[in-house]
Structure formats: C-alpha cells, structure tokens
Symmetry: C2
Subunit: 297 residues, 2 copies
C-alpha cells in the first residue's frame, strides 16, 4: 500500500514540477553576458513538459488571464491607471503572427491595441523614428501589442545601412530613455524576441512554397534576406546587449517549437499582469441609493 | 426494426433541422413594414435549438470562419480587395461588449479593426458627424467592427435634442448615401441591432449593482436613460425604417438570451463572408524558381 501511495505521490510531484512555470521568466530574461548564439532554438527553458501539457497550462490559466485583463481595463476607465506593452520581434517566419493569433487572440479584443509596424511611410520617415511608436503606445487600461517596433530601426536599418552608423548608434540610448519614460508613466513593458534557427526558417519558407494557400505569405525578398542572417544575429545581439534594462528587459524565447513560444509569451503576459496586483475599482456612487432608483425605474 | 430505424432517422432529421441556420439571416432582416415593438426579445428566429446546441454550432464553424477571415486578409494584402464592416447597436446592457468579446474575439485579431465610438470629442464635434466614421472604415482585407456608430447621431442625438430636428432629419439620407458609397467600394456592411426588453435591462443593471466586480461598469446615468426608453425605441424604429436598404440592410437580433445573440451575429458574419466566395490569391512569383533559390540559401 505504502509503495502504491508513494508511486502516486511521485507521479503527482513530477506532474506538479512539469507544470511549474515559476522560473520561466527568469530563465528567458536577458542579463549581463547574454550570448544569443549559445541559445538552443529548440529548447524550452523553464518548462519540462510537452506540447500537450503546454496547451493544457494555457487553457488552465485562460480564465485568470481574462480576469486580470478585465481588471486592467476597469482600472483604466477614467483615463488614468496602468497599461501593458508587449513588443514582439523576430526574424521572418519566427512566429510573430502565431503569437498575435493564438496568445493575443485569447484576450478580449476590446482591451487590446495591436499595431503591426511595416516599412515606414513617407510621413513617418519625415519624423524622428520614435514618432510613430509614441502614437501607438497603449492608453491606460489597455494591453498594447507591437508586431515589430522601434527595434527595426536598429536591426534592418543597421543591416542594410539605411542610415549612417552614427545615427543608429545613437538610437540605443534614445530607445532606453524613451522606454524609461514609458515605464515611468505606468506601462509595464515586455520585450520578446522569438528566436529561430536558419534551418527552421528555411523549412517554414519551404512550407509556404509547398502550399498554395500559403503562397500569399511568401515574399521572394525573404530569401534575399537570408543572405544577411549573420548580420541580423549580430544586430540582435547588439540590441539585446544595449537595451535590456532593469525596467524594460528583453526575453529571448526559443521559437523553433511554436507551442513553446506561445506558452512562454502567454506566461510572460500573465506574470506581468499578476505583478500589477490590480483590484476592482470601488464604486464611485452610492450603491444602495442606485438600487432604489433602479427599482423605481 | 423498421420502427427503430425510422425513429433514428426522425431524430437525425430533427437534429439536422435544429442545426439548420439557413433561414436565420432572412428572418432577422428588416424589411418593409417592420415593427420593432412586435419583436419578442426572448425569441430565437431561425433557430429551434437550445443554448448548448448554439455553442456547438459556433464551435463547429469556428475553423471555417477562421479560414474565410484569412482569405479575406490574404486578398487585401496589396491594399485592394473587399472588406467587411459589422455595425453593432443596442440599448445599454444589450450585450455589445459580449459580442465583441465572444464573437469578434474568436477571429484573428490581426484581421480585425475594432472601434468603440464614445461621446464625440471636441475635435470630432468640429467636423461633420460622418467624419470620424469615415476614418474608422476597414481597410481592404479587414473586418471592421463598430461598437456604436453613425447611428448614435440619429438615436441619442434625436432623443436628447442635441441638434435641431432639421439636422437629424437630414442625416438618414446622408447615412444612406454614405453607406451606398462604402458598399460600392467593396465593403460588405452588416448592421445589427441587439434588441432587449426594458425588464431585461433592469435585471442586467441590477446585476452590475449586486456584484462589486461589476460596479465599474455601472453608470448612474444609465437609470436616467431608462426614463427615455420609449423615445429610444421610437428613434430605433425610425432609423430601421429609413436606413435598412437593399445594399446595407439592418438585422434586428432578439438579445434577451445572450447565447442566441452571439450565435446570430456569428452566423451573420459567416454568411456574409461566405457570400464573398474568396479564393486564395495566386502566387505573384515563379514557385519553382523560388524553391530552387530557397534550397540554395
């Protein structure tokens, strides 16, 4: 009997351990001496379970995420209060769209402000690079989501010499100062790099070519860009080194396994919302008096 | 044996009949001689099943909705192509937020442009009433969703004499001309009124007062507005009479049962997307040549 119980307990402990995501955030956080090239893009830091358990854990916390998002929204009703900004970067096919669809898609759309930054327009180019970013910051109560961001201005811009080195060199500090102000004004900033390998990208592009329903997602320029893979990695490493601050750290999420990347971003969002420790706003009216008025209406 | 088979067949036919939503759209459509006061707000036009079956049917067509939305998005990639505009109106507590959360929330957020129209700002008031509406129209490939809309300018505005009668009287025609242009430019317009009874509204407001986690949703002004219930119904009737056109008809959805309202809007969206009969865009590049280039990259 004792043995059976022990076995059960062991199994339970093992499952509990597999379901424990409490170290994920710290494991993904970019700190001093971080080396992008050393990250195994197929690894699953902070999680020892499989795809099925990952999906289960996301389902298990869906209601909590929902509740926390609604509290955030409720607290922003008067135009003051905290907000959250999730920035998602990554090479082509890294899975940014999947994060938007499956992680952000699980949140009430009324509380989300999603911005996909494309190549800057003429109007945007006529302004400082942070101008369009500033306009897209989330209002109090909202979860802002950036699909690409100000970081393109030190990534693609650096790789392709779109501005002189003296300009992009200055931008790291400008980004840090900008983000410090954003955090100061009450926005929790979560910066995520979805990190895939060059081989994984190749197979994802291959799939887009193999499936006629994916042709529209394929752009011949994507193959050209593969020629700059190392320069991109170098630019990412520089951005991570220079802009992973205490207030607005980077999280590098290994993303060859899509299910892990989704779990990780879901968990990062959940962790940051939990940190806000939001209560429901107190009534700004006399509840009993309103009940009486309503009864008579 | 024959009897048992017949019974099974009967059950199957009955279930199939219950699952048949093909008449829903026509039954909800506002045509000649429509009488809002005659609508039973607890009825479920075009659907004879229950809450559970309604949820099942929404789940059954979730993948199709997803697929159709992605085709719409794919077709808009070059800045041309059709779009969809869903306008949702209704009295306070009619369930607009629930539609946004549960119906629109099931669609990929990357393909949705949601706008909640509040009381107009000073800037908006300085422009013609359609100015802010025009700016929020969906781009090609997108599903635009309006939580309230241009119709507030012939509803609350009319009820509270916010502009002279000669002004709001003119607006019905202006809205029709505007919407005709929107449809002409390739946008399918779906106008939904969520229709609840005054008693149902009372019980929903009561719930907001009873639950501290709902207090933030309660506004004492909502009780004052109940004093204008009949004037609102009259204004809705006038709007339905004058703006349910062949190109942009109104659908009045009985909404005392939230599950039915959600099924109905889901189905209306699905029906209109099906009508577009969208194919995946053909490749604009030489697929085989790209496969060769990719292989070498």
């Amino acid at each position: 009997m004792g043995k059976k119980k022990d076995a059960k307990k062991f199994k339970k402990n093992k499952d509990a351990k597999k379901s424990d995501l409490s170290s994920l955030r710290e494991e993904l956080r970019v700190g001093e001496g971080f080396d992008l090239a050393a990250v195994d893009t197929r690894s699953t830091p902070g999680f020892s379970g499989d795809k099925q358990l990952a999906a289960q854990l996301m389902t298990d916390t869906a209601d909590e995420l929902d509740d926390l998002q609604e509290r955030l929204y409720a607290n922003g009703r008067d135009g003051v209060g905290p907000s959250v900004l999730l920035i998602v970067q990554g090479m082509d096919t890294a899975g940014k769209g999947g994060i938007m669809r499956h992680v952000i898609g699980s949140v009430d759309p009324q509380g989300v402000e999603l911005t996909a930054f494309k190549a800057p327009t003429k109007e945007e180019l006529a302004h400082p690079f942070l101008w369009r970013i500033r306009r897209a910051l989330p209002q109090p109560g909202y979860i802002g989501v950036f699909d690409r961001s100000q970081y393109e201005d030190v990534l693609i811009v650096r790789v392709h010499d779109l501005v002189p080195p003296s300009t992009w060199t200055r931008r790291y500090g400008q980004i840090n100062a900008f983000e410090a102000g954003v955090v100061e004004r009450g926005t929790a900033v979560i910066k995520v790099m979805l990190h895939i390998s060059a081989d994984e990208q190749k197979s994802r592009l291959q799939e887009r070519l193999d499936r006629p329903d994916k042709h529209w997602k394929y752009n011949p320029g994507d193959v050209d860009e593969r020629g700059y893979w190392d320069a991109y990695q170098e630019s990412y490493q520089a951005a991570l080194d220079r802009t992973s601050t205490a207030d607005a750290p980077w999280y590098v999420v290994p993303a060859d396994r899509k299910w892990y990347a989704r779990l990780a971003v879901h968990q990062l969002l959940l962790d940051h919302l939990r940190d806000l420790d939001l209560q429901w706003p107190a009534a700004t009216f006399d509840v009993d008096a309103e009940k009486a008025r309503l009864a008579e209406s």
